[in-house]
Amino acid sequence: MSDPTFNIDELPVPFKPGQTILEAAKAAGVFVPHLCHHPDLKPHGGCKLCTVVVNGRTQSACTYKAAAGQEVDVDTPELDAMRRSLVQMLFIEGNHFCPGCEKSGNCELQALGYEYEMMSPHFVEFFPNREIDASHPDAMIERNRCILCERCVRASRDLDKKNVFGIAGRGGKATLVVNSPSGKLVDSDFAVTDHAARVCPVGAILIKRVGFERPIGERAYDRAPMSAEVEVCEIPESGS
């Protein structure tokens, strides 16, 4: 028997029972933008970039299960405008200076900015001053670029079984914290071989000494837009 289907932007998409809308769309080659979602991690539903309209109601595609006969809107001017605003708010909340960031070109936040033609961050800049942790010999944390997607939190807890990262504080004071007596990465169980070292969508967790191994202009999103579904939250193998 063939798989049941639901509709994305009026086109039928097959799904396996239990799949989320995002997973089914990806399997069918339909781009649904996402930022906090990572295929190897449990869905989080935090960034809301994957917001779609399911039978007239907005839902997070990364957490909402596909069901037969659903009418899902993904690519509409209203949703795209909302996504652009979300990306703009993420930009102004942190210090996202692409020209000075070694993640530029491999950054998923930046790629979404391109995807939605964000010409400026629009809102008033926060210019926060958050702590940088370069204590670890092999990796560093640049919190000014952290977007609190919790990918590292989930990867460390669920894949590495180490529970190195967490989010502390609320609202504008929420920040990435490290589970160690000193609060420094060097005193934690973190190792550069951890999954948590490689899942950051932005330049907040960086592995040292590999930053410019691949020159700017030749990186993942320099070659293809994010909607072409390139997976890049991997540091090149030769670098580890």
């Binding site: 930009f91 102004i92 210090n95 996202h96 200076f97 692409c98 020209p99 000075g100 960031c101 530029s104 070109g105 930046q110 900015g113 391109y114 033609e117 010409m119 400026s120 961050p121 629009h122 008033v124 800049e125 210019f127 926060p128 001053n129 700017i216 837009p225």
Partner: protein, 186 residues
């Protein structure tokens, strides 16, 4: 119209440019349009710009602003261009979000000036206080936090190709857009 009064040549687009807290990289990139500058000269002329060394801006059609706003002089220049230009474009990362100069924003300007100019260990004595020197602002601001901005052209710098595409779109009355290949924040 009386033929004697009719303009002999088509009216040219008048363009002003300036660099505030920037590195002039966007202006250098403008010159990367190479021989297209001749085509440009056929349809446009410069008002106030580092290319002409005209000191003050008159009424013009388009103003291109490079760099963020870091001191009082930047504010005056930016307001002058805004008052005179029909269309004001923020060009490059610094004009759009403060860019690299804005990386000083988490430090107190007082501490920065003392450290740079008045630290005896580094051979300094006093912070310069000549009235000719523009006063530094507390932070480096994107230009859209100081004046109204009509369009944004990102890049560090935007390539000559991107600047040409954007300018010609504007001059021809199209909604300016950049193809993905020339659309970069870095």
């Amino acid at each position: 119209m009386n033929e004697a009064l009719a303009p002999k040549t088509p009216v040219k687009v008048r363009l002003a440019t300036t660099s505030l807290a920037g590195c002039f990289g966007c202006h250098m990139s403008f010159l990367d349009i190479d021989e297209l500058i001749f085509e440009f000269a056929g349809i446009a002329e410069f008002d106030r710009s580092p290319f002409t060394d005209i000191k003050h801006c008159g009424p013009c059609d388009i103003a291109l602003i490079e760099g963020g706003v870091c001191n009082a002089e930047n504010v005056h220049v930016l307001r002058e261009l805004r008052a005179n230009a029909k269309i004001l474009v923020a060009v490059g990362a610094c004009a759009i979000n403060g860019g690299l100069p804005a990386m000083r924003n988490h430090l107190k300007i007082d501490d920065i000036l003392r450290k740079v100019y008045a630290d005896p260990e580094r051979g300094g004595s006093t912070v310069p206080n000549d009235p000719e020197l523009p006063l530094q602002l507390d932070k480096v601001y994107p230009i859209n936090e100081v004046v109204r901005v009509d369009y944004f052209l990102p890049g560090c710098p935007p390539s000559g190709e991107a600047i040409w595409k954007y300018l010609t779109d504007l001059i021809l009355g199209r909604m300016p857009r950049l193809e993905r290949q020339i659309f970069h924040y870095d």
